[in-house]
């Protein structure tokens, strides 16, 4: 690799895309800039283990490379790359499910630490209790609600970014977030899970 990571520091994503189109080595900088974030995202929205997530990310980046000319600067690069990773991950996850790999989704610690407060749930009772129950509820709510909760409250994307990632109008995103929160609360109620003392 001729380009060192330090050469990419200070360059914006958009500048890196332009340079990658001229010199593939710059593409490695994009990969390294987003690798951790995107692996975490893949793990959050799917049931893949870490090694599988790495493989998915590699394949998704091959797609990013193929379609790099499609990126236009009216969109944030991070939204565009999240969209590709999201689509590849969901496709691969569905494929793996249809092959009979019925895995339970695993969520990282951050999810369980942040989600209760962000979902307007009141005082936490017991961290372990909360973690287990959030895990359970996220598995039970519909996929469209799960992914939007993850994008909004864990990836901390704003409405415009979520709209660009999921290719849905901003108004629909706002509605989905409200419904997702409601679905979360309703599912908790049905499962007799209370997050309030």
């Amino acid at each position: 690799m001729k380009i060192l990571i330090k050469d990419c520091k200070g360059l914006s994503d958009e500048e890196l895309v332009k340079k990658s189109l001229q010199d593939i080595d710059y593409f490695a900088c994009i990969y390294e800039r987003y690798e951790q974030k995107l692996i975490r995202y893949i793990l959050r929205i799917s049931s893949f283990d870490f090694a599988e997530a790495e493989e998915i990310l590699q394949e998704a980046f091959v797609k990013v490379w193929q379609n790099l000319n499609e990126f236009d600067e009216t969109l944030k690069f991070s939204s565009w790359i999240y969209r590709i990773i999201h689509n590849v991950t969901i496709t691969e996850w569905k494929k793996s499910q249809s092959k009979g790999k019925d895995k339970t989704q695993e969520y990282d610690e951050e999810l369980f630490q942040n989600l209760p407060a962000k979902l307007d749930l009141e005082k936490e009772v017991n961290q372990k209790f909360v973690e287990n129950n959030i895990r359970k509820i996220l598995q039970l709510i519909p996929e469209k609600y799960r992914e939007i909760l993850i994008l909004k409250f864990l990836e901390e994307k704003d409405y415009k970014e979520i709209s660009d990632i999921l290719k849905k109008p901003s108004g629909t995103v706002a509605t989905l977030i409200n419904r997702a929160k409601e679905s979360f609360r309703q599912t908790a109620k049905q499962e007799n899970i209370s997050f309030i003392i």
Binding site: M1, L21, I24, D25, F27, A28, C29, Y31, E32, E35, E54, L57, Q58, F61, V62, W65, Q66, N67, L68, N69, E70, D72, T74, S163, K167, K168, P169, S170, G171, T172
Partner: protein, 235 residues
């Protein structure tokens, strides 16, 4: 080896090339063009709907016997309504597949497509283009029957009380030639005149009345051949 390096190797070993920018630009342009064309065709269809409705005299429905209602309904622009709906759907499909199409809600996309088609169609109708489209269809598509042909059929039923044609002479009575070339003597003494008419030679008229003999028709009401546009001036 770092994952980023593995990725570059993978791309190079598999000889993966980038899709050209032109391909993406063309794809996006294609959907915008599809959207624009559908709006134009939808608009033109809407203009013909206005044209046909303008030519349709709904007040006749009460005077037409049940067996002839079908003939009246045949004038209504079902073909153009279907065409308008199909192209409206195509325009929605087109814009939804452009790069930025997802940003607009289905309601917004539907509403704007309808409004654009209505604006375009109404403008086209008032410039007189709708009638020409209808005529082009009638001349070039054998199975397509123009509104004028349907109108002639509806107004060529003297036994049912509907007659039309061109005035060839005006005395105490009118002499008209119907669309088959047959001459009729029209008694219009007690006829109601609906719309602006001079009743001079060469003028085309529609008559509601009663056939008394083979070539004599007693008029109850006379209307200009043209549609509602003319009649809208009546007092």
């Amino acid at each position: 080896m770092k994952n980023s390096q593995k990725l570059l190797e993978k791309i190079q070993v598999r000889k993966i090339t980038q899709k050209s920018r032109l391909k993406f630009v063309l794809k996006n342009s294609l959907f915008w063009t599809l959207f624009a064309l559908s709006i134009i065709i939808g608009g033109l269809s809407f203009s013909v709907i206005l044209f046909v409705l303008n030519e349709t005299e709904f007040d006749l429905l009460s005077q037409i016997t049940d067996s002839k209602v079908e003939l009246f309904l045949g004038i209504l622009p079902f073909f153009w309504v279907i065409s308008c709906v199909i192209f409206l759907l195509i325009s929605i499909f087109g814009i939804r597949h452009t790069k930025i199409g997802y940003r607009y809600s289905p309601f917004w996309v539907f509403g704007s497509s309808v409004i654009l088609s209505i604006i375009l169609g109404t403008s086209f109708f008032f410039t007189g283009g709708a009638g020409k489209i209808e005529q082009i269809f009638a001349e070039n598509i054998p199975i397509y029957e123009s509104v004028v042909e349907k109108k002639i059929a509806l107004w060529s039923m003297p036994e049912q009380g509907f007659l039309s044609g061109e005035i060839i002479e005006k005395k105490e009575i009118l002499i008209i030639k119907d669309w088959s070339g047959k001459k009729w003597k029209i008694n219009f003494e007690n006829a109601l005149m609906r719309g602006k008419m001079s009743l001079n030679k060469g003028e085309k008229i529609k008559i509601i009345g009663k056939m008394s003999e083979d070539i004599i028709f007693i008029a109850k009401e006379i209307r200009p051949w043209e549609g509602r546009k003319m009649r809208s001036n009546e007092k």
